[in-house]
Subunit: 222 residues, 2 copies
């Protein structure tokens, strides 16, 4: 698979999983049809991430799901991940591309058009754009702490690489992110904290497929 085919994307964070292991959450997300998983786990040491990464690599490879590692190029190499996801405070995109080669997936977190253009110019394969709604909002209208779908649209207009929206996205508010030109959505809590992570993944996927019930869509209907 390639980023251009991603719809649902799980970013792992053990601290939000209500006691379940990250591997367990990942397994359920895979059963629910997730397209990509990012090994994040910012609070754990490298050895723990490496061991977890090996476990995720085995299950994602079997399922044909892409696996990228947040920040650490070395862990990505060590577990034979498909690539990395770097933020603005991590190693530069150009360095990641240089060290990992042309076949690795290199993604970058951006929140402005300028950052997005720079990441594309430096060789990023996709962008994680956000925080779209902030991280706790449940309603589209409450994105005062996020950049909102409008900014996502500005960014998707400005670059030609795939964009994944991230930040406070749920099955209720995913539609406008897709309408803004994002090819998919990345979530932590929506899957990780769900009672049923498999069902949550499926609901997110369904929300992206459904036509958005906006006035402009319904106006022209008979």
């Amino acid at each position: 698979m390639a980023p251009s085919n991603w719809r649902t994307y799980l970013v792992t964070q053990a601290s939000l999983s209500a006691g379940r292991s990250t591997a367990e959450i990942a397994r359920e997300a895979i059963a629910g049809g997730v397209d990509a998983i990012q090994l994040r786990e910012k609070d754990t040491d490298a050895r723990t991430r490496y061991e977890l990464g090996r476990e995720l690599r085995e299950m994602t490879a079997d399922a044909g799901v892409d696996l990228v590692v947040n920040d650490r190029l070395d862990i990505a190499q060590a577990i034979d991940a498909d690539g990395v996801h770097v933020g603005q405070s991590d190693l530069p995109v150009a360095v990641a591309r240089d060290l990992l080669g042309p076949d690795a997936i290199v993604g970058c977190s951006t929140s402005t058009v300028a950052e997005a253009r720079q990441a594309e110019a430096d060789g990023a394969d996709y962008l994680g754009v956000g925080s779209v709604y902030g991280t706790t909002s449940k309603r589209v209208a409450e994105h005062k702490d996020g950049i909102g779908p409008e900014r996502v649209a500005e960014i998707t207009d400005a670059v030609s690489i795939p964009v994944v929206g991230i930040g406070g996205i749920t099955d209720d508010n995913a539609g406008p992110v897709a309408d803004a030109g994002a090819i998919g959505v990345a979530v932590i809590s929506e899957i990780t904290a769900a009672d049923d992570p498999q069902a949550a993944t499926q609901a997110l996927s369904a929300a992206l497929e459904a036509p958005t019930q906006s006035p402009s869509n319904t106006e022209g209907q008979p």
Copy 2:
């Protein structure tokens, strides 16, 4: 240079430098004849460590001083460091050796004979052994929080790769570490927090060269 030639070894930590930059401390340590520098800076993000690492690489290369990076193999690769130093919670020594190749320096933190033997078997080039005296003690007799020179001697007897002592080492207590078979000593505070880091480096080096004034040495004198 190779680890077998190291005597004084600076581990960087900006938070202990009394407002001076890590590059400034490193420059003074180099002027004082330091043999190796480890880019540590655990509290900073990857981008900052990368930028600092590039600066340290330039000055260490000019001076013929070895540069290793703590924990992050990717930053070591990105700045063309001589190698890495990994702890028991970092990527395994065998993974570092595999990813960085046979020419890279791979060091490992160990505090027991078992860990030391494992690291040697996995391909480590040298060991950082400690904490010898704990981290704040100023006297040899006060190493109740450290493993002490006795354990250093047990480890140097058990392996054939070079051992560098670390943890609470000063010019006052470095002698017994060398007597225990360590080829050198690694310090953070002793150089970083010193009023004159260059002089502190020289004093440490001198302490390693001086014969230890132990009873067994003086007894035989006329």
